[in-house]
Amino acid sequence: MNTSSLLTLLLILGLLSYYLGRKKSLAVSNGNRGQHRLHSLPDYYGYLVAVWCLLPALVVLLCWNMLNTPLITHAVSNSLPPEVHAVSPVNAGLVMGNVKRLVATRSIATETDPVQKAAAEKYLDLQAFSRIARTLVVLALAIGGFLYGWKRVNPQLRARNQVEQVIRGVMILCASIAILTTLGIILSVLFESLRFFHAVPVHEFLFGTHWSPQTAIRADQVGGSGSFGAIPLFVGTLLISAIALLVAVPLGLMAAIYLSEYATPRLRSIAKPALEILAGIPTVVYGFFAALTVAPLLRDLGGMAGLNVASESALAAGLVMGIMLIPFMSSLSDDVINAVPQSMRDGSYGMGATQSETIRQVIIPAALPGIVGAFLLAASRAIGETMIVVMAAGLSARLTVNPLEAVTTVTVQIVTLLTGDQEFDSPKTLAAFALGLTLFILTLILNIVALHIVRRYREQYE
């Protein structure tokens, strides 16, 4: 039975147990709350029995589905003849990859290698066995759970409290997903990065000035150890981010100031939604705009001015990324400026300051921590932005700070390295994870510092 029909069946069982549990609670209370007063409302007994029926079964089903593939892979891999493992661990991985492909494409019959064919058949057998076992175990748990829960129904049972305990537990679990996600990110990126750093030393990655992963198609290939010096990527990322921030910070900040301090309600009612639209446009659209409109425009303009502008210039990508960040910067600044208490403004106006004097000499200094926080968050967005640079910045890892030339960024390289049909274990794909780790650490630091500053700032005026 596949997962969705199993889930449907469980749902039906759950509804049934709710109904039966509720019914029994009414029965044991001798009709409608007769001699035996129920501790809780009859509904809660129904819920409790349903929980007993569903919760263990669902937990087991989830775990089973999560562990199914890793365990079967492990078992099949171990059953491979020792000579396969003897070649190299990478070889075993390759064989397993092929086996999985055979299973997925249902083309075992066409395979000629007897070892792989046998492994694929074993894989299929294990899968079939696992599916049957899963159905039996899950249904047994559901029915067993129901019987246990149903037996326990009696007027003294504190059904409501127990149901509420379950609800609370589920809620805590949901809240912890945030931690699990972070943990998952760190572990997945870190684990693969460590494997990468076995092949390429950390200092070579961090301080090397030559990046050309394209030669390393397979790890076991002759001369297949491309160079992985990431400095050109870092410089390219910083260059494009700097251009973007140069556009977004003054424009976003000034727009926020004008909207919150000067604008008439009419202008505000037009400009605010316009900025929200700008914020809601997907980055892939900005990327398309950058690649097809802005970049050629800049190249032509540069041509007229006698400058040689690359058709995938850092300037085009940075400029469009700046436009993308304007609403982000302005909405963050807006929050920050509005958090400056009115009494500050009153104090300044009361001294005979003009509006701009008040803004420049009182509001901006007072809001400075918040503005710095907004700036850092914008910088973090710029560094991590992917689609605009994938579409509008180049692939050539040149070490330059000339905004008219083509540069590449960390995110562009991650996408390029991972969207081909490579083996998962080659240094080339692992390099993407090392870049991902760098990106994650960098943005993590920026975010935490920024969030800390903004939080302290808010508390100051609360």
Partner: protein, 426 residues
């Protein structure tokens, strides 16, 4: 007037000039931002509108037994193998009887898009009574013809620099004179899947992919997000390291680059747990993790806005804390929660980068029918098309963007409507 007043008055003109400058700068920032928005939308729309129409050629196809190899009363199986391609070719030769050499005939056949025989087959299968008759209908022209008729080919270039040769241009002129060639609204754009041929490419597959991905995202992120928000806002103990850790994590995850979530999806969901690649299921899982912070933060704000007096009233009546939340607080906070959810879903709908990591970038020819079929989504389709060298794909890309923006605007309007309709000030 005393001395101080005189001094102040003397400086006023200069100060007001500075005030005006500052003000103009602020207004300038807004105007520039709006201008960018206008240029962006204008470019996309002006390029994209033509993407919804496509050039069609009217052919009179003779559906006789001699050409097709099947006569009236043919079974479906027979029809599938019938010579519809030949029938299309024949109708072209009839239009231009003077074309005789093999290479010229090949060029003539190239006027039509390659799917014309399949369209014809579909028409005949729907209405078998057409067999033996002559069917006149509009068929897709090749994208080169379409590009030319939309004015993107310069006829004055030397013949060798053009994709369309003089001979073909002559045919087009004749077809135009006979009224057999025209641009029409292209319904196939909404009913076809992706294709290597720009004139046949459509967004149905991407739309269905987006739909299934959003479905998974919504079904997972809404309950989980709301439950997490309720816990953090209503039950979590204050000054507890675990709760603080959760809050720091949520705020940080909201700012983690989306591509990192793609790496997580690749390493954990696909490599470790064996979730099938390229499917809405794995896409939805990744987008759920990305959307959760948005939903949690919005839901918490909505819950916080419900005044404590309502909770106190319920608790005072003897309700338990869980009952208070589910009977009173949550329903009152629901509009805010839904608004936040819609905004989160709109973000997820436009997300591209993480989906590239988990293989939703594949060239998919069949419409996905469930959450475990290989699929792509609308923004990734935009990315794929924008990468194609053919000129004709540019307008397709813009057209797909218009559809995407249409959905996003719809969702945002819905969110605004929700906020307006149910907004409550306590």
């Amino acid at each position: 007037m005393n001395k101080t007043t005189a001094t102040i008055r003397a400086g006023l003109a200069r100060r007001y000039a500075r005030e005006r400058r500052f003000r103009r700068f602020g207004l300038g920032a807004i105007i520039v931002s709006m201008l960018f928005l206008f240029i962006l939308l204008f470019t996309i729309f002006s390029q994209g509108v033509s993407g919804f129409s496509q050039t069609f050629i009217k052919l009179d196809v003779v559906l006789d037994e001699a050409t097709l190899g099947v006569g009236p009363g043919a079974t479906g199986e027979q029809l599938r193998n019938a010579g519809f391609a030949k029938a299309i070719s024949q109708s072209l030769y009839t239009l231009f009887p003077d074309v005789s050499s093999r290479s010229d005939k090949r060029n003539l056949r190239a006027l039509m898009s390659s799917n014309a025989p399949y369209r014809l087959m579909g028409i005949v299968m729907d209405d078998p009574s057409l067999l033996g008759q002559t069917y006149s209908g509009w068929f897709l022209a090749d994208d080169d013809i379409d590009t030319y008729l939309k004015g993107h080919v310069d006829r004055s270039l030397p013949e060798t620099d053009r994709r369309l040769k003089d001979q073909t241009l002559g045919w087009i002129d004749r077809l135009e004179a006979e009224g057999r060639i025209e641009k029409r609204f292209n319904t196939e754009f909404f009913t076809n899947n992706d294709s290597r041929e720009p004139e046949q490419a459509g967004i149905l597959g991407a739309l269905m992919g987006s739909f299934f991905t959003m479905l998974v995202t919504l079904l997972l992120s809404f309950p989980i997000g709301v439950a997490a928000a309720i816990y953090l806002e209503e039950f979590a103990p204050k000054d507890n390291w675990f709760v603080d850790l959760i809050e720091v994590n949520i705020n940080n995850l909201a700012a983690v680059p989306s591509i990192v979530f793609g790496l997580l999806g690749l390493a954990v969901f696909i490599q470790l747990f064996g979730v099938p690649r390229s499917t809405p299921l794995v896409g939805g899982l990744v987008l759920t993790l990305m959307t959760l912070p948005t939903i949690i933060i919005a839901s918490r704000a909505a819950l916080k806005a419900v005044p404590p007096s309502i909770r106190e009233a319920a608790l005072g009546m003897g309700a338990s804390r869980v009952q208070t939340v589910f009977h009173h607080t949550l329903p009152l906070a629901m509009p805010g929660i839904l608004t936040g959810t819609i905004i989160g879903m709109a973000q997820a709908l436009g997300e591209t980068a993480p989906l590239l990591m988990i293989g939703m970038i594949a060239f998919i020819l069949s419409t996905p029918e469930g959450i475990t079929d290989p699929a792509t989504v609308l923004p990734v389709q935009v990315f794929l098309w924008s990468d194609s060298p053919e000129r004709a794909f540019t307008e397709k890309t813009s057209a797909a963007i218009i559809v995407l923006l249409g959905f996003l605007i719809l969702m945002n309007l819905l969110a605004v409507l929700f906020r307006k309709k149910f907004e409550r000030r306590w």
